[in-house]
């Protein structure tokens, strides 16, 4: 299969290239020359970019098929232009055994849409007590190890887990949250939570966990990726730690770039997220840190939740928001607000996550995987249940109009989505 994409605005964040041109894909890879294509796509008026790489997308299999299925969420991924995604281990059972990982990868492969990179559980059942067989899990395809949203409460276990992972050079992806300080909390501990009478999670639940994590990274040399940073104080600590040369990378969820605890309004359960939406000052610091590179990439933190679990009082509602199909529009919106070029903006969902993941995709150059997305940066669309392919319709952006619509998604040279 040889594919020619003509007349597009080719944007390659890695090289900074942003020019009209053609892209040729042969044998699943970007090719230098132009042979005779089997198919030609006219990309006039569209941006041609590397397929998006999302470091946090829950597919809900195994165990939560009533919330979403691999099939529905892989459709959502490619509809959102996501060609590679990493899935956290908080399935049921969690991804703590090679057999489970193997099955997930095979099921995902059979659907032949986006590439799936499983993130294995750091501890058995994510219980924070016993280490998983990380080497075995890595052999079956896990690219990193994580606790998803369940922090390790026992610092001794966390220390040992980082030591063990560092022994093999496995990256560890962790959310920074002190389990005891966060216990029972459902919203940012501040004026809004006080007014609404919601139990709070203070920002120092994050900074205390970060301080602990940084010391453990210093001691063990483990490569740590900080997931879903949420506070201005956390960002400041991360900036210093990176400056000190610690082997750290970091991501932020797209929702946290645009929303704050003020958006909880009158107990809007679609804004019940983990970590909680914090103050406007925190939101501003996150958006700035993603622009200056302190935060490396943006993720959808895609979490499909069934409607019944959101039609509950705020604290009882299941946390999470659907995100795969909003990754592009919300990243574009952030880039516009920060006055960044399109290449700079897209880097946060292409070349930067590729670097964190250590994969060759996320760029347009000869030899790179033929993963591409064609999108109309200016096409506005309304976020509605019907417009979303994901089985999860839970979004704080429901009813809002956003710009940026994917027209075609290509994985390994195959067109897997067209709209």
């Amino acid at each position: 299969m040889k594919l020619l994409i003509r007349n597009g605005r080719v944007v390659d964040p890695k090289s900074g290239r942003d020019a009209l041109g053609d892209v040729f894909v042969a044998d699943g890879k970007i090719a230098a020359g132009t042979g005779t294509p089997d198919r030609t796509i006219d990309a006039q008026g569209l941006v041609v970019a590397p397929g998006f790489i999302d470091l946090a997308a829950r597919l809900r299999e195994p165990g939560y098929e009533y919330k979403a299925t691999l099939e529905s969420e892989m459709d959502a991924a490619v509809a959102g232009g996501v060609t590679s995604l990493a899935c956290p281990p908080d399935t049921d059972p969690p991804l703590d055994e090679p057999g489970l990982v193997d099955m997930l990868r095979r099921r995902a492969k059979a659907l032949s849409r986006a590439r799936v990179y499983p993130v294995g559980a750091l501890t058995v059942k994510l219980a924070g007590q016993q280490l998983t067989e990380m080497a075995e899990l890595a052999e079956s395809g896990c690219v990193a190890f994580s606790q998803a949203n369940i922090p390790v409460a026992d610092t001794q276990v966390l220390w040992r887990a980082l030591q063990y992972a560092a022994t093999f050079g496995f990256p560890v992806w962790l959310r920074a949250e002190d389990a005891c300080l966060a216990k029972g909390g459902v919203a940012h501990d501040g004026e809004v939570a006080t007014r609404l009478g919601l139990a709070g999670i203070p920002a120092f639940a994050e900074t205390i966990a970060l301080a602990q994590l940084f010391e453990l990274v210093r001691a063990t040399g483990a490569r740590v990726h900080v997931c879903r940073i949420s506070s201005a104080a956390g960002v400041a600590m991360l900036r210093r730690a990176k400056h000190d040369g610690l082997p750290l990378t970091c991501d932020v969820a797209i929702h946290h770039l645009h929303l704050s605890d003020m958006d909880l309004g009158f107990f809007d359960s679609s804004c019940r997220l983990e970590p909680p939406l914090r103050s406007q000052r925190d939101r501003e610091a996150l958006a700035a840190a993603l622009a200056d590179g302190t935060i490396d990439c943006a993720v959808s933190d895609h979490t499909p939740v069934d409607e019944d679990q959101k039609l509950l009082p705020f604290a009882e509602a299941e946390p999470g928001a659907t995100g795969l199909e909003l990754l592009l529009p919300l990243t574009l919106k952030w880039g516009m607000e920060r006055k960044l070029t399109l290449a700079q903006t897209l880097a946060r969902i292409t070349s930067e996550p590729a670097r964190v993941l250590g994969v060759a995709s996320g760029r347009i150059e000869p030899g790179a995987p033929g993963d591409l997305v064609l999108f109309d940066a200016n096409a506005a669309w309304r976020v509605t249940s019907a417009a979303l392919k994901s089985q999860g319709k839970n979004s704080p952006f429901l009813g809002m109009e956003l710009a940026g619509r994917v027209r075609a998604t290509i994985v390994a040279g195959n067109v897997v989505h067209e709209a």
Binding site: T194, G200, F267, P313, F314
Partner: protein
């Protein structure tokens, strides 16, 4: 911010969910409406026909005796039919969802749902899903709000002090977990009380409480100085012995209202308590039963205020 879900398109009260966000005119209207109802409760035939033919469903997802009873009396004095549902021991244990329970009761032709729930915001969720002719009255949701208690507190203060604009009000104790405190604070600031104080240890004060428009005191004697109104909050037993408070004794010593601490307030200060009281913990018997106490009149006024609220939201026809 979405529009205020308590008011209809004409700016009238559709539901009573929280005192926060209600304009001063509506608060005053509720208090004014409650005045003549105080007379009804003293008549021999204690009934007016304002809600004749209407059904009031008391939906209590959390146990309560006093609030439920006063709502029941208020509804009956308005000639409504009252159905009490103690959900804590029926549907919830059978796994029925909150909204399913409400939908079922709605099919039984309810006009007013009086809702108490342990989760902050539950009455807002219900109000978003009821039919246009149905009304929701929040009878206490989590730590968030207890608007009829706040209104009866305001009614009591106005009854004894007439004017809010000169008052110093001190609210003492467990502010963190108190929906009563939150509702009263919003009411007082809306009606123009110039100084609202909250008094308690740091462990019982929520983050950023100053943003509600209050002054924070940790020393009770300092906080009571010159107060016109002292509102004591109930301290739940389960707060004791954990990391919030070491013991009831130590709490009583520093934050319990004794006669000598009360002497620091104005000579004509009134003492209020939403009940049920823990004598010897947050309040000494000598004060609870003393000349400054208006704790029992609060209960009586509670009926009038609840009559006013229900007649205003559902008495229109």
């Amino acid at each position: 911010m979405p529009p205020n879900p308590q008011l209809n398109a004409k700016g009238e009260l559709q539901h009573l969910l929280s005192i926060e966000g209600l304009p001063r005119e509506i608060l005053t209207q509720i208090l004014d409406t409650a005045e003549p109802f105080a007379g009804v409760t003293e008549r021999e035939v204690k009934k007016v026909p304002l809600l004749r033919g209407k059904s009031v469903f008391n939906l209590f997802f959390e146990p309560s005796t006093r609030t439920r009873t006063t709502f029941e009396i208020a509804a009956k004095r308005l000639s409504a039919d009252v159905i009490n549902l103690n959900i804590a021991i029926s549907s919830q244990t059978k796994g029925e969802s909150l909204l399913d329970t409400v939908a079922n009761l709605s099919a039984m032709q309810a006009d007013i749902f009086v809702v108490r729930h342990a989760s902050s915001g539950a009455p807002f969720l219900i109000a978003r899903h009821v039919k246009p002719h149905e009304h929701v009255v929040n009878a206490g949701d989590g730590r968030h709000a207890h608007p009829t208690q706040g209104l009866l507190d305001l009614f009591t203060i106005r009854h004894y002090k007439k004017d809010f604009t000169q008052l110093t009000v001190a609210i003492v104790g467990d502010i963190l977990h108190s929906r009563v405190a939150r509702s009263l604070i919003h009411g007082l600031t809306t009606l123009g009380a110039p100084e609202v104080r909250v008094i308690g240890p740091q462990t019982l004060l929520p983050a950023g409480v100053e943003a509600l428009g209050v002054r924070v005191f940790h020393d009770m004697r300092e906080g009571l100085r010159g107060a016109d109104v002292v509102v004591m909050l109930r301290l739940q037993n389960e707060r004791m012995g954990g990391a919030l408070l070491p013991s009831a004794q130590e709490f009583n010593k520093h934050y319990g209202l004794s006669a000598d601490k009360l002497a620091l307030a104005k000579p004509d200060a009134i003492v209020m308590h939403p009940g049920p009281m823990n004598r010897g913990v947050e309040i000494d018997s000598s004060v609870a039963d003393g000349p400054h106490s208006v704790i029992l009149p609060q209960v009586t006024f509670g009926i009038s205020v609840r009559m006013a609220v229900m007649s205003m939201i559902a008495g229109g026809g």
